[in-house]
Amino acid sequence: MRLADKVALITGAGSGMGKAAALLFAAEGAAVAVIDIDEAAALEVAREITNRGGKAFGMRADVSNPADAERMVEETVKRFGKLNVLYNNAGIEGEANLTARFSVEGFDRVIGINLRGVWLGMKYAIPHMIKAGGGSIINTSSTAGLSGVKGGCAYAAAKHGVIGLTKTAALEYGRRNIRVNAICPGPIATPLLERIAAYQKSREVTVESMGANTPMGRPGAPEEIAKVALFLASDEASYANGGIFAIDGGQTAS
């Protein structure tokens, strides 16, 4: 059991990569706080874990709301006694518009959830990790954190920003034994990518075709990201800190 006796909080755990990670972390022995803005989805994933004999609870939180971010951390510590792993994974794709046409409301929403939400999660989790003698934080960036994205100025800004958050916190808390790393997924077959494909005017754009553009010629599966997150969460990654891991089938190598 690679996460035996660990307590992990995962945001955006009601679907996609977050759900895959919640199931995997629980199977590896972690008690998991399953957080999602969709309460029913969070409760369902938590139920799935407990039905399999794992430890979990589900809870609704809007990560861009400081009160919610604080509450999800405090509730986790209340229920499980500590916090060892924070996986800041919740994110939205936002509107698809060129920079000069992007709306102010749309910009604020994407930055609020995808960037401010990641910072808030760290802000409230870190004091508990210091108490626990260390911890591991995993932030979901994106290949859009490493390059530009047509029609996604706010998304690219937020995901680039997550890399800044990751490196900065990694330096600040290295001596506290808190490791902070980021994963940059390429096209992963999740509900979010399905929505992005559906936005495209061309019917030929699908999750499969977006994956076909990567050197590996296919989209990734949420479980393939969850396995990397598991490694980073576990003590096997005890010297991995401030790392930016592109898990993208080779997309950013091109």
Partner: protein, 252 residues
């Protein structure tokens, strides 16, 4: 040949530091100037400095965070000069010194507002004008904190990384027009913003010097020279880059 002869160039944060130094270099290279700053007096001083050399320049008092301010800024520039060729989105703030868990929401919203959102808002309206002209060059001020960690400044680091996301995205979106969009990533530079920080912790000067392989801080003019080049037709095939001007800081 002057690099920016007869071009109309806009500089935000033009009342001091890197913005002022760049405005002076833009003027030296033949540009007409729109100098915007929150601090009207600073902007007026910059305009007075270039006017002496015969450069046509206007001042715009501008709080880039205020709704409608970026749109108004571009409108004033175009009303006066008829066009906008170059824009240097440079206004920025450093924010408080605190570790991630101790940094405040107020600081986050202020720093991300000025250093990230306002850069996007300025780009949004500059690009709208440049699309009409079917040409333009934009340079955004990122930072070495946009390329690596920035201990005790999480919001600044997030915002400056984010500026590179904006820069690369807009560069790709408008490459065929062509509107070129680049970022400059200054190392620690002798500006009022940095000097204010050092004044609070004087021991930081030696630390900063040591962090740069060249053993010293940058001069604002050294950033301005790079910005002028990126804005000029000499850089006609350069778009989407994050150019460090940092005395080697990011090479180690």
């Amino acid at each position: 040949m002057a690099l920016l002869k007869d071009k109309v160039a806009l500089v935000t944060g033009g009342g001091s530091g890197i913005g002022r130094a760049t405005a002076l270099i833009f003027a030296r290279e033949g540009a007409k100037l729109v100098v915007a700053d929150l601090n009207r007096k600073g902007a007026e001083e910059t305009v007075a400095m270039v006017a002496k050399a015969g450069t046509e320049a206007i001042t715009v008092e501008c709080d880039v965070l205020k709704p409608g301010a970026a749109e108004e800024l571009v409108r004033r520039a175009v009303n006066h000069f008829g066009r906008l060729d170059c824009a240097f989105n440079n206004a920025g703030v450093a924010g408080e010194l605190a570790r991630t868990a101790e940094s405040t929401e107020e600081n986050w919203d202020f720093v991300v507002g000025v250093d990230l959102k306002s850069v996007w808002l300025c780009m949004k309206h500059e690009i709208a004008q440049m699309l009409k002209q079917k040409s333009g060059a934009i340079v955004n001020t990122a930072s070495i904190a946009g390329l690596g960690a920035n201990p005790l400044g999480i919001a600044y680091s997030a915002a400056k990384h984010g500026v590179l996301g904006l820069t690369r995205t807009a560069a790709v979106e408008y490459a065929k027009i062509p509107i070129r969009v680049n970022a400059v990533c200054p190392g620690v530079t002798q500006t009022p913003m940095v000097e204010a920080g050092i004044a609070r912790r004087p021991s930081m000067r030696a630390v900063f010097n040591k962090l740069h392989p060249m053993g010293r801080l940058g001069r604002a003019e050294e950033i301005g020279e790079a910005v002028a080049w990126l804005c000029s037709d000499a850089a006609s095939f350069v778009t989407g880059v994050a150019l460090p001007v940092d005395g080697g800081f990011t090479a180690i």
